[in-house]
């Protein structure tokens, strides 16, 4: 397609796009810049300093919350990705009765508003008498991570040539061997991107975690929320910037890897 056709330059389209990107990135930039402020104010610039980063690193509460977040995200990712991989393999092939309903259930966590999932899960734990803790957070996270892990794996499976597995069978591979030598390695990029999505989503979740977190089971987003409620501070600027930079680096890396593979 010739994208340089002057007829296709619609008035106002370029400025709007620029406005869009400015709107998207200026707040993030401002936050990161302000995190290097040496003064006591969260918004008035005084001098450059890394002071608040050392405050964050030496705050035992923040370190504990970060550890909790990592523990939950790691286990939720492992469990959700395993379940999603099995489910994707099961859903592959000729359609069977009830399959549409089953895909609906697999996608349900994406459809239900977060606050509704949060409330329903809270009442469920109260109903079965399970005490709120890191464990209840983990259960809730596995549930909403499943579709994020499932979708890329399923997409990868769908794009896979079924003749490759057939060829393996022709070459006298047992179904088990054909799976581990052919299907699984081909599926690996899908599994990896599914796991990565699940990990990011779990690390970032606030609403559901907030509802099903017991006393003492604070994750990083829950910690940030309660600090914001107490008032903005340069400390929140610093911890927020750390989180932002880590996730942007994470996404940029996956983008870079994805570009190279092509």
């Amino acid at each position: 397609m010739n994208t340089q056709n002057p007829l296709w330059r619609f008035t106002g389209v370029r400025p709007t796009a620029w406005l869009f990107f400015a709107f998207l990135y200026v707040p993030i930039l401002v936050l990161v810049v302000l995190s290097f402020n040496g003064g006591q104010s969260a918004t008035i610039w005084e001098s450059f300093s890394l002071k608040w980063y050392s405050v964050v690193a030496n705050d035992p509460e923040i370190v504990r919350a970060a550890k909790n977040s990592l523990i939950v995200a790691t286990f939720a990712t492992l469990i959700a990705t395993s379940l999603a991989t099995l489910a994707a393999l099961g859903m592959r092939g000729r359609a069977f009765r009830g399959q549409t309903l089953m895909s609906g259930v697999l996608g349900l966590p994406l459809l239900v508003p977060e606050i509704v999932t949060a409330v329903a899960t809270l009442m469920f734990f109260a109903f079965i008498g399970l005490k709120l803790s890191l464990f209840t957070i983990l259960i809730a996270h596995v549930v909403f991570c499943i579709p994020f892990a499932y979708l890329p794996i399923r997409a990868r499976l769908e794009g896979m040539d079924p003749r490759l597995a057939e060829a393996a069978a022709d070459l006298y591979a047992s179904p088990w061997k054909a799976f581990w030598k052919v299907t699984f390695p081909l599926l690996m990029p899908g599994i990896l991107s599914g796991a990565m999505l699940a990990f990011i989503i779990s690390m970032d979740d606030f609403v559901i975690t907030y509802f099903v977190a017991g006393a003492g089971a604070t994750t990083l987003p829950v910690y940030i929320f309660s600090s914001i409620r107490m008032g903005i501070s340069p400390k929140i600027n610093a911890i927020s910037s750390i989180i932002l930079v880590i996730s942007i680096a994470f996404v940029a890396l996956s983008y870079y890897v994805g570009q190279r593979k092509r």
Partner: protein, 304 residues
Amino acid sequence: MSTLRALAERRQLRRRLLLTSPAMLCLLLFLVLPLGIMFLVSVLVPGDYGGVKWGQYSLEAYLNFLYERDLDDALVFNTDYLQIFQRSFWLSVLTTVGCLLIGFPTALYLALQSERKRNLLLFLVTVPFWTNLLVRVYAWILLLRNGGLVDSGLGIFGLSDGALGLLYTDVAVVIGLLYTFLPFMVLPIYTSLEKLDWRLVEAAFDLGANRFQALKRIIVPLAMPGIVAGAILVFIPSLGNYIIPELLGGGKSLMIGNLIQLQFGASHNWPLGAALSFALLGFVLLAMLLYSLRFKQAAGGGHP
């Protein structure tokens, strides 16, 4: 021979169901069952200090949407919640319209770039999605508060005396919602525009259409599935959003999400919270159903 094949097929089906079952069980047990319990709670009588009184059924929670009991136990029309529904609805509509106004030209701009540049820009659109929402909303607190950057920025041009009082208003909530959901509008519209056969647009120009006519009669109609998908993806999460009205609305600009949360906190009225959640969920499912009936079929089979 045929029975052998049927047997093999049955065995394969059983294996496939077995593979799917762990994820299925997990979702049925920890999502579908809780949603069922939520419905049950919504028709129960609230306990005195949170929780519910099991076995005592009542539709009171749904009546509470519009009425409240006065001291004589009579139902009195009460518009408090109705106002919150209305506010949620209008703020979400405003957000959707705003997203469309900024999102459509942006998607058009993206679709008309060279492939290399397009990929980079698309990446930039998706980055915020992968960063923490709470943190990004917090950034807006820094910008919008009195004496924050928006105030001082406008002050330079003499448009503000440094105290606009933007934070904790409906305006702040809409800005936050716009900011959060704009990529959800841009991406589906971009997807439609990318698939668009630009020769149709060329043909329109050849037949003497001006740019506006080509846009109105060719591009917008063909991008319609993307526009509708984007509108749904923006409107529905806006409606039930909790974080943004909580942090940028500051308890003054409540939306449905905050109302639900309140019932599990200060108000101790679980049935009302459950009923509100159930109504919200019903609304979402209805919207998705209408969308799939209207657009998935029109798009033609083969892509369920």
